[in-house]
C-alpha cells in the first residue's frame, strides 16, 4: 500500500471539520453519559478513548430510512378520482465514517452479503455503501466484554476498513487499504510517514500478544443447529431476558427492519426502520399466530442466526463481531458468550448421549 501518514491527535478535529464540506462526517461523540456516532461538529468534540455505545451501522443502515414520499389528491367533482404521486428518495452524498473500531468495520461486510449480494442489491444500502469511506481505529486493548478474537476478528483487524489508524504516542499512523482510503489520504496535509509503518506494525503485534487464548466460536454452526429442537435449553438460557431491543439495536451486525407507511393527512412517507427479533411482534402474523411465541424461541433465533444460520449461508462467517455491546448494555447483563459456550457444550453432550444409544 502506498500511502501512510501521521495524524497528530490535535489535528484531527480541524481535519474532520474541513472534510465536512465534502462529506457527511460521522464520528463517535459524547451524548449525555454515552458515546454515539453522529454528525461531527467541532463543538461536540470526538471521543476515541472508549468503544461507542451505539455502533457505526447507522451510516449504512439508518434507524429510519425514507424509501419514498407520497401524496394523494382527490378530484372534488364526480367521479371523485384519487390519484397518487410518488417521489423516490435515494440517499445522496459522500459519507466519511471516522473512528469505527475493527469490530464495527468488520460488521459492514456482514451487511454486504445481505444487502449488496449477488441476488439482491438494495438500492438504498448500496448507494450509502458506495459513498462511504471507513476510517478505523485499531483498539489498544480489549475491554472486559470484548471477544472479537473468538469470532474471527482481532483488536487490530482491518477487514472492512478503507484506512486503518494505529495509535502511537502523540497521534496515529494512518495506512490506506483501499482505493477510497488512498484517495482520502492523498489529499491531506498530513506528514508522509512510510517510515513509521514498521513501528505501527510492532504496536499492533504487541496488542495482539495481549489477546488471551480462548475457545473460538467459529465452525459451530452444525453443532448449534442440533440444539434447535431442544426448547428446554433455550427456556433456561432466556429465563432472565426481558425481550427488549437493547441488544439488537446496539449490535453492529443486526440488520433486520420493518417497513411502515406513515401518513399525515393526504401525504406521507414509507419508511424502513430497525426492527428486532427479541420482540414478540417481530414474527406476529396477521392472523394472530406467532411462530416465535416465547422469549426462548426468540433467543434461539438471535443466537442461532448469528452463530449458525448466517455462517451456513455465507461461507462460515459469523454474524457476530464480538464487540460486547449486547452484554454491557443489557438491563439484566445477559452474556451471549456464556450462552454460546453453554450451547456448544450442551450440543456436544447431546451428541455423546446419542452416540451411546
Amino acid at each position: 500500500m502506498s500511502t501512510a501518514r501521521f495524524l497528530k491527535a490535535r489535528d484531527i478535529a480541524p481535519w474532520l471539520e474541513e472534510l465536512g464540506r465534502e462529506y457527511t462526517v460521522l464520528a463517535p461523540t459524547r451524548h449525555g453519559d454515552t458515546v454515539v456516532f453522529r454528525e461531527f461538529e467541532p463543538e461536540r468534540g470526538i471521543e476515541l478513548d472508549r468503544l461507542s455505545t451505539t455502533p457505526a451501522k447507522k451510516a449504512l443502515l439508518p434507524p429510519c430510512e425514507t424509501l419514498f414520499e407520497y401524496a394523494t389528491t382527490k378530484t372534488d367533482t364526480p367521479p371523485y378520482r384519487t390519484s397518487i404521486e410518488l417521489r423516490p428518495t435515494l440517499p445522496e452524498g459522500k459519507i466519511l465514517l471516522f473512528g469505527t473500531r475493527p469490530c464495527d468495520a468488520r460488521a459492514m461486510q456482514i451487511f454486504d452479503r445481505v444487502y449488496d449480494g449477488e441476488q439482491v442489491k438494495d438500492p438504498y444500502y448500496t448507494a450509502r455503501r458506495n459513498a462511504a469511506t471507513i476510517v478505523t481505529l485499531a483498539c489498544s486493548g480489549q475491554a472486559g466484554t470484548c471477544f472479537c478474537d473468538r469470532v474471527g476478528g482481532s483488536p487490530v483487524d482491518a477487514t472492512g476498513s478503507d484506512v486503518l489508524l494505529t495509535p502511537l504516542k502523540a497521534g496515529y499512523v494512518a495506512e490506506a487499504l483501499t482505493e477510497k482510503g488512498m484517495e482520502l489520504m492523498r489529499d491531506t496535509a498530513f506528514m508522509k510517514a512510510d517510515g513509521l509503518r514498521q513501528e505501527a506494525l510492532n504496536v499492533r503485534n504487541r496488542i495482539l500478544e495481549e489477546v488471551p487464548e480462548r475457545t473460538s466460536f467459529l465452525d459451530m454452526e452444525r453443532n448449534l443447529l442440533s440444539l434447535f429442537g431442544d426448547l428446554g435449553f433455550w427456556d433456561k438460557t432466556a429465563e432472565s431476558c426481558l425481550s427488549c431491543g437493547a441488544c439488537t439495536y446496539l449490535c453492529p451486525t443486526c440488520y433486520c427492519f420493518n417497513i411502515t407507511d406513515e401518513p399525515h393527512g393526504d401525504s406521507g412517507k414509507r419508511i424502513r426502520t430497525w426492527d428486532n427479533c427479541m420482540s414478540s411482534q417481530f414474527t406476529l402474523e396477521g392472523s394472530g399466530h406467532n411462530p416465535r411465541p416465547t422469549k426462548a424461541h426468540r433467543m434461539r433465533n438471535r443466537i442461532g442466526h448469528k452463530f449458525s444460520y448466517y455462517p451456513q449461508l455465507h461461507d462460515k462467517t459469523l454474524a457476530c463481531v464480538g464487540c460486547g455491546r449486547c452484554i454491557s448494555n443489557c438491563p439484566v447483563s445477559f452474556d451471549i458468550r456464556n450462552a454460546v459456550a453453554c450451547a456448544i457444550q450442551h450440543a456436544a453432550a447431546n451428541a455423546q448421549e446419542h452416540a451411546h444409544d
Binding site: G32, A246, S280, P331
Partner: protein, 319 residues
C-alpha cells in the same frame, strides 16, 4: 458474608416446595449483576446479595403467575409486589418472600460515568466509600453520591411483608445530603429549556423499549400501544417527538401505580433520565391525593377512583 449464608439456608429449606426462586448473582464485571433463577441447591452457590445487585426481581412475577415462586426482596421491591397484588396481577399464595434488609443500591451508571467508562477490574464497598479499580487507577467514590434515586426517598429498608426474613441489618448508605436529581435540574428550567432538554435527550433514544420491558408495571408489553398500528399512537419515524410521545405514554400508564423503583431509567442503555417524569407525577399525586403506590394492599390506586368533592382540586377559569 453471614447474611448471604443465612439467605442460602432459608432458601434451601423452602426450595423443595417451590418451582424456582428469584435472586441475584454477579455479572460480566465486578460492577454488574444478573438475575439468578434458582431451581436446585447447586444454584445457591452463585447467589449474591449486596448494593450492586440492582434488578427489581418483582418484574418477573406477573409472567410467572401460576407457578410457585420464591423471591428475594428488599424494601423497595416489596412495594412493587404490593402494587401487583393490589391490581390482581399476581396471587399472594403463589409467592414466597425472602426478605432482606437493604442498605442501599448503587446507581451503576453514575459509577461508570465517574470512572469515565474505563473497564472496571475490581470494586470494594467500604462503610461509606466505593473503591473502584480500573486497571492501574483507583477511584474512591462517596457512596452517598452514587446511589439510585429511590434510595434517597426510601420508605423502609425491610420489605413491607415477608414469609422469611434474614436477620435485620443495620446501616444505610444514604446519609447526608441528597445529590440533585434530574427532576431538580428540570425544576430550575423554564418551559422552553425543559422542552429542549427532552429534545436533546430523546435524540439518542434507540427505541429499544428496555424502559418499558424492565418496568414491573408495564404488563401489556407484548401488546403495547407503542407498537400498535391501529390505533396509531406513535409513528415509527426516528424523531424526538415520537420517542417523547412514548415516554408520555409510559408515564401516564403508570401514573398512580409507579413505585419509583427506577428500573426504567436503570435499564435504559442510553442513560436517558426518564425517571424524572414519573417522579414529577408521583409528587403531584402525593400532593393531591395523599397517595403513594405500593404501600397498602387494601387501598385503591388514585386514578381507579374519585371523590365527588375533590378538596385539593380547584376550579380554574379560562382566562
Amino acid at each position: 458474608m453471614a447474611h448471604t449464608q443465612e439467605l442460602r439456608t432459608l432458601i434451601a429449606r423452602e426450595l423443595p416446595n417451590l418451582d424456582l426462586v428469584l435472586a441475584w448473582t454477579g455479572g460480566f464485571d465486578p460492577l454488574s449483576s444478573t438475575p439468578l433463577f434458582i431451581t436446585t441447591e447447586a444454584d445457591l452457590d452463585r447467589l449474591a446479595v449486596g448494593p450492586m445487585h440492582v434488578q427489581n426481581l418483582a418484574a418477573y412475577l406477573p409472567s410467572l403467575k401460576g407457578r410457585k415462586v420464591g423471591i428475594v426482596t428488599r424494601g423497595c421491591d416489596s412495594r412493587t409486589i404490593t402494587e401487583l397484588l393490589q391490581e390482581n396481577l399476581i396471587n399472594r399464595d403463589e409467592v414466597v418472600i425472602f426478605g432482606i434488609g437493604c442498605t442501599g443500591a448503587v446507581n451503576i451508571r453514575k459509577v461508570r460515568t465517574a470512572v469515565n467508562g474505563a473497564p472496571v477490574t475490581d470494586v470494594e464497598i467500604g462503610d461509606d466509600v466505593l473503591t473502584v479499580t480500573t486497571g492501574e487507577e483507583t477511584h474512591a467514590l462517596r457512596l452517598q453520591d452514587v446511589l439510585m434515586d429511590k434510595c434517597y426517598t426510601c420508605a423502609g429498608q425491610a420489605p413491607r411483608m415477608h414469609d422469611h426474613m434474614v436477620s435485620e441489618r443495620s446501616g444505610c448508605l444514604a446519609t447526608g445530603e441528597t445529590p440533585p436529581s434530574s427532576l431538580d435540574l428540570l425544576e430550575g428550567m423554564d418551559a422552553r429549556e425543559r422542552f429542549a432538554f427532552w429534545e436533546g435527550h430523546m435524540d439518542r433514544c434507540i427505541r429499544c423499549y428496555a424502559c418499558r420491558n424492565a418496568c414491573p408495571l408495564c404488563v401489556c408489553k407484548d401488546s403495547c400501544v407503542a407498537q400498535s398500528r391501529d390505533p396509531h399512537w406513535v409513528d415509527q419515524s426516528d424523531t424526538p417527538r415520537e420517542k417523547l410521545m412514548f415516554q408520555a405514554i409510559h408515564a401516564l400508564h403508570t401514573a398512580g401505580r409507579c413505585t419509583e423503583c427506577g428500573e426504567c431509567e436503570r435499564a435504559c442503555p442510553m442513560g436517558i433520565p426518564i425517571l424524572a417524569m414519573k417522579q414529577a407525577l408521583n409528587r403531584r399525586i402525593k400532593h393531591l391525593f395523599d397517595y403513594e403506590a405500593g404501600m397498602d394492599q387494601e387501598s385503591t390506586p388514585p386514578l381507579f377512583m374519585f371523590r365527588q368533592q375533590e378538596e385539593t382540586i380547584k376550579e380554574r377559569d379560562a382566562r
